[in-house]
Amino acid sequence: MEKNIKKTSLIKAIISSLVIAATTLILFILPAEYNIDPTGVGGTLGFTVFNEPLNEKQRIAEPTSNNLEEKRVLLTIPAGRGIEYKLAMAKFEKVSYQWQTNKGPVYVDLHGEPKGDTSGYFESYTIATVDHMKGSFTAPFDGSHGWYWKNTTDSAIEVQLTFSGQYIVEGLK
């Protein structure tokens, strides 16, 4: 059933498969998947972009403890994808918010997930397909509260989100 080949060609097959695999991993896959780029080739060819934007945005989005000043973040929803931006809030804490897209409506689901819950349960406060929204909400329970946006178009959409109130930023999920 299997092929009988000479010992030298078998060794050649093993070595070349390993060399090809190692080269592809180091030059392309590791830079793209994990932002590990020992040779710099991945970065030069643009394979590390999958990791960069997220890191940058998280840096903007992260930080802070409870605060009442207005916070502003710019989020990008890639084409055909959904993103989630969450705030950790205790029960009865309140947040006022406002957001708008740079082009056209997106599907949005403002919701909260109870702290420590593993069943996947969540409660939606607002579901709509709009290009902007303004309002406030009070957390009905301790947990993670925020927005899920879905971009069904074939180009990236930016969302400018401003919010203030009592929260700890969890950021993009």
Binding site: K3, N4, L18, I29
Partner: protein, 232 residues
């Protein structure tokens, strides 16, 4: 002569391109749409779960590469059926028991083993075991055992969502049925391409190259998943 050449180029290109296209979206786990669906729905949802299972299989390059390796030298319908049934038996067993008994295995490690199964099959096809061990390990047992690991891989994808227990069994079975449908669909294409190619002399000329490429792809999967394991 020209058409043979074109055909072999097409097959090799397909073997290289198909796994690459799904790299980003499915490299680890399930895509965004599926994720949102899984997080938003509870209760029995037969057809959606079936669809997710089928999609996972059709776009799961690691499963497909293994099947290419298994089917490479099988051309009799009976044999194809036997080997595919063994693979199905193996992965269904661990998919169902893994999720229901809540056995958690590290997703990276299991995916690395799945990568290893691709290497194994490529090496086996090259006659490597016969050469170094003097005999070939039982290929049916090997397919069954690797089937068990592939099933654990599928189980980790489902477990990542911590699905509610309500309707879990039905959803899981629907997912499993979807996996088999997706596998059937993918198999048709793999068999079609391999069997057409088999008629040409280039099939024999490229046997070593194809299985070397298979091994190499397997090594890439192993390397990628192990790196993921160590940095997470």
């Amino acid at each position: 002569m020209f058409s043979k050449f074109t055909l072999s180029i097409f097959v090799i290109a397909a073997l290289i391109i198909i796994p690459l296209t799904s790299f980003q979206t499915f490299a680890h786990g399930v895509d965004e749409t599926t994720r949102h669906f899984l997080l938003n729905n509870s209760g029995v949802q037969l057809t959606p779960f079936m669809y997710i299972g089928a999609k996972h299989m059709v776009t799961g390059y690691d499963h497909l590469l293994f099947l290419v390796g298994v089917l490479f030298f099988l051309y009799r319908g009976k044999e194809v059926l036997l080997y595919v049934s063994l693979f199905t038996l193996g992965h269904s067993l661990t998919l169902l028991t893994g999720v229901l008994a809540n056995i958690t295995v590290n997703a990276y490690l299991i995916d690395a083993i799945i990568g290893l199964s691709v290497v194994y099959k490529g090496f086996d096809n090259l006659g490597g075991f016969k050469h170094y061990l003097g005999k070939q390990p039982n290929t049916k047992v090997a397919v069954l055992i690797f089937g068990l690991f592939h099933g654990f891989g599928l189980a980790t994808k489902i477990q990542a969502f911590e699905l509610p227990s309500e309707g879990l069994v039905s959803n899981l079975i629907a997912f499993n049925v979807g996996v088999e449908l997706g596998q059937f669909f993918a198999l048709m294409f793999i068999l079609l391409v391999i069997n057409v190619w088999r008629r040409y002399e280039s099939f024999n000329r490229f046997t070593t190259t194809t299985n070397t490429a298979l091994m190499s792809a397997g090594f890439m999967l192993v390397g990628m998943q192990l790196t993921g394991y160590f940095i997470n």
